[in-house]
């Protein structure tokens, strides 16, 4: 009997997890959040500034700024900021202010009417092409890369960044970023595409609102930013292809997109190094406006947009590529030799 008992493996007593009362759990949750908010107060301010304008943002920016100031006094936010810097999380949002421009009716700022030809690239020394802008630009850049795999004379670098635009320099400053790209990459051709996120008020890098969306100042301020990006790409024979946004299926976004496209077209006319590429016309419905489905040149009908009504489907992106790639290669194409 004893032998049988000793042969059986001893069962380890089941360890029971300690539980807590609901009140303690709730207090614990609050403490966790306070720890998080206090230690990452700088990040909280940046996140709050990235919110759409409105009372929620005002409240979030105000609250997080106060917390950030307080935690800064006792340096509680330093470890997070240091770690973020080491990991490269923080955006290098250099101070950059878009210069004031004269407007569409003013005299062109550049008297030159012709541009020197773009050098003829080779496979060994390809043309440096940079794509920049919002998520539509990112998709454009990815598709462009795949469309020119058989053109070794083109080297594409994609700097598209989702959720960005020209309106909110407090969230992402495309002026500063473009300045950096031009300095470090020296692109020979830049493709820039923004607008789908710009149906909102215009803010400076420090969060100051310079023009409320819908106000008379908004268009003027937005024009300055578009012109600023164009002017940053001037010089050294550099070319800029401003890729207009397609019409979109969201009313509030469509208004901003149309305004942005119009301004970009007007500003491009006064700058010989800028070419405006009209995507909206390529993917428009029969009436020239937004259409979820369009008829392709081969006669088939295709859904032109992704589910959000903003980003183009692969089929329509291919349609865009069919026109855009010749524009790009046309910048340097020479007459066919004998």
């Amino acid at each position: 009997m004893n032998q049988t008992r000793s042969a059986q493996p001893r069962r380890r007593p089941r360890r029971v997890r300690r539980t807590q009362s609901a009140e303690t759990v709730w207090k614990g949750l609050v403490v966790s959040l306070i720890v998080f908010v206090v230690l990452a107060s700088g990040n909280m301010v940046a996140s709050a500034e990235g919110m759409p304008l409105g009372w929620q943002r005002t409240l979030a920016v105000g609250t997080s700024a106060v917390i950030d100031r307080l935690t800064n006094l006792v340096s509680l936010n330093r470890p997070y900021d240091w770690a973020a810097e080491q990991l490269g999380v923080e955006q290098d949002n250099a101070d950059f202010e878009f210069p004031v421009v004269a407007g569409p009716d003013a005299e062109p700022s550049v008297t030159t009417t012709t541009m020197p030809a773009v050098r003829v690239p080779t496979a060994a020394n390809p043309l440096k092409v940079v794509v920049a802008g919002d998520s539509t630009a990112k998709a454009l850049g990815d598709m462009l890369k795949s469309s020119v795999t058989d053109i070794p004379e083109l080297s594409i670098t994609n700097y598209g960044k989702v959720s960005t635009g020209l309106a909110r320099s407090d969230y992402f400053n495309w002026g500063a970023r473009m300045q950096e790209i031009v300095a470090t990459d020296s692109p020979e051709v830049t493709l820039f595409m923004v607008g789908a996120n710009d149906g909102q008020s215009i803010l400076e890098g420090d969060g100051t609102v310079v023009a409320q969306y819908g106000s008379a100042d908004w268009e003027e301020q937005y024009r300055e930013r578009i012109a600023g990006i164009m002017d940053l790409n001037q010089g050294n024979g550099r070319r800029l292809i401003w890729v207009g946004e397609p019409n979109v299926g969201k009313g509030n976004v469509q208004e901003a997109v149309q305004t942005g496209n119009r301004i970009a077209q007007e500003e491009a006319k006064t700058r010989p190094w800028v070419t405006y590429f009209n995507v909206a016309a390529l993917v428009a419905g029969p009436d020239g406006n937004f259409a979820d489905y369009i008829t392709l040149p081969d006669g088939t009908t295709a859904r032109c947009y992704a589910g959000d009504g903003v980003h183009l489907s692969v089929k329509c992106m291919n349609l865009v590529m069919d026109s855009l790639v010749p524009v790009l290669t046309g910048l340097y194409s020479t007459s066919p030799g004998p």
């Binding site: 360890r15 997890r17 300690r18 539980t19 807590q20 009362s21 609901a22 009140e23 303690t24 759990v25 709730w26 207090k27 614990g28 949750l29 609050v30 403490v31 966790s32 959040l33 306070i34 720890v35 998080f36 908010v37 230690l39 990452a40 990040n43 909280m44 996140s47 979030a60 997070y80 770690a83 973020a84 990991l87 999380v89 955006q91 998709a139 990815d142 598709m143 890369k145 795949s146 795999t149 989702v162 959720s163 299926g249 259409a291 979820d292 489905y293 006669g299 088939t300 009908t301 295709a302 859904r303 947009y305 589910g307 009504g309 692969v314």
Partner: protein
């Protein structure tokens, strides 16, 4: 409202506090949770709340009709009407564009171009999940497995925010009793909840988001431009990304529900450690697999009707499972691919079983619905691979079978998928996207599949012994680390699209 955001954190602080305050008043608790859930759901687009409430009322009324009908024929008619209406709702919002486009692609070459109403239909988040929950309720009432519940109970069940938008697909019988018999507020299993939430946040914010931006998104947008090692690692990365994204979401959902005193069933069980395809489907999205088995496979006949009937039903179930994920041929191919794989495996298993395995094996019976064993009487040898080959080789084969399926699943078109496969065997080279950090992220995502559960449980036990204040500070610091390690911004969960 996304879980890993400050907006949700603030929302949840309020909801958790008030929820426990109302714990002793069930009706008030339900009304409050219902309001909070609608606020959560309507945060992005309040118009979808009307759809949710219409689905709630419609299904509740039809379930009442099923319950009260005097004859079986009437009960069946009401049930079929409810299921049909749910499928129409789902079909309209999810598949309208797909069917219109597919029809046009067939008609136009024949010169029969119709002019359908080409309207854009926005997909309400979570419509597949709450529709499946609603169908399960009506069918359970029809089968006599479930009594009807009050409209308030049903509304809270359908809209309960932790599982509303991406599951797990919970049954009324699992949820409503927990509402009506609220647990005492003195013993919240906080350590388990914290473990789930922290694990889910890490998987989603760090692993899934990083892999998406570092390699998965680029290689799937334009596979033709990448080298075969980039494509191979990209496919592995997507396998890890979708697991980390979806299981991360359900971990958080289960943890949040647990903090509110509600227990959800598990949804994932280390799926990439599976040694057979069937084993994989018992570990991946378990509540959907269970739903498909109980509300599609079994009504189709299950494994009655001989092997051919069983194989047909299995294939059709997986095909529908693929279509459920979205209106695209790539999802249909993905479902069919798994269906063919399961059928082939079953055929092979049966032949091996005849030679090697005992005819009775309790482990091979359905795990969590013993009532249905009659339909699935014949033993289904799930672990035949382990009997016939090295377990690690079996895992490797099953994992890569699943990865091939993911390439279809993730590609934007069949052409894109074929281009991906072509690149895998032709574009020789390593490329620039395969970096040590990417490989490390894949390794971290995979290693969790093989860590014995007892290690996690032991850590959980030790954590539960910590003073609450230390645990709370630890959670705050952990969230901070996640915030630092993850890419900026919060990408939506993949399964929000389904």
């Amino acid at each position: 409202m996304l879980f890993p955001t400050m907006t949700f954190a603030l929302f949840f602080v309020v909801v958790l506090g008030v929820s426990w305050k109302l714990n002793d008043r069930p009706t008030d608790w339900k009304l409050f949770v219902l309001g909070a859930s609608y606020l959560f759901y309507g945060w992005a687009d309040w118009r979808f709340c009307f759809l949710l409430s219409a689905s709630t009322v419609g299904n509740w009324v039809l379930a009442q009709a099923v319950f009260r009908a005097r004859t079986d024929a009437r009960r069946k008619r009401w049930m079929l009407l409810a299921v049909g209406l749910n499928l129409i709702l789902l079909g309209f919002f999810k598949y309208y564009g797909f069917f219109v486009e597919s029809a046009l692609s067939v008609l136009e070459p024949l010169g029969l171009a119709a002019t359908p109403m080409l309207i854009k239909v926005a997909l309400p988040i979570g419509v597949s999940f709450f529709t499946f929950c609603a169908i399960s309720y009506v069918v359970d009432v029809f089968r006599g497995h479930q009594d009807t519940v009050s409209l308030l109970d049903f509304a809270v069940y359908l809209s309960f925010f932790p599982h509303l938008v991406a599951g797990p697909i919970v049954r009324v019988s699992e949820f409503v009793p927990q509402m009506n018999e609220r647990p005492g507020g003195q013993s919240v299993d906080v350590t388990r909840a914290v473990r789930l939430i922290c694990r889910g946040m890490f998987k989603k914010v760090v692993i899934a988001n990083f892999l998406a931006t570092a390699i998965v998104d680029p290689v799937f947008v334009a596979p033709g431009q990448f080298r075969n090692w980039e494509l191979l690692v990209g496919a592995w990365a997507y396998a890890v990304q979708i697991y980390a994204d979806f299981s991360g979401y359900t971990d958080i959902a289960i943890g949040i529900a647990l903090l509110m005193g509600v227990k959800f069933p598990d949804n994932f069980d280390q799926p990439y450690s599976a040694r057979s395809i069937q084993d994989f489907w018992r570990r991946w999205h378990m509540t959907l697999s269970r739903w498909l088995r109980d509300y599609l496979y079994i009504p189709l006949g299950g494994n009655r009707g001989g092997p051919n009937g069983e194989y047909r039903n299995l294939f059709l179930t997986m095909l529908f499972g693929g279509l459920w994920h979205g209106a695209s041929w790539t999802f249909i191919i993905w479902g069919a691919y798994h269906g063919v794989g399961l059928v082939a495996e079953r055929r092979h298993a049966v032949s091996v079983e005849a030679r090697w395995l005992p005819t009775e094996d309790a482990e091979l019976q359905p795990r969590d619905n013993p009532d249905e064993t009659k339909v699935m009487q014949r033993a289904t040898p799930t672990v035949v691979s382990t009997e016939t080959m090295n377990p690690w080789l079996a895992r490797l084969l099953v994992f890569h079978f699943v990865v091939v399926g993911w390439i279809f699943f993730r590609s934007t078109s069949i052409t894109g998928a074929l281009e991906y496969f072509w690149g895998l065997i032709t574009n020789w080279g390593v490329g620039t996207l395969v970096t040590p950090v990417v490989l490390l992220a894949i390794f971290v995502g995979m290693i969790g599949q093989f860590i014995p559960r007892r290690i996690g449980d032991a850590l959980e036990y030790r954590a539960s012994q910590l003073p609450p204040i230390i645990m709370a500070i630890g959670v705050g610091v952990f969230l901070l680390a996640i915030n630092l390690l993850g890419p900026q911004g919060v990408a939506p969960f993949i399964y929000f699209n389904f």
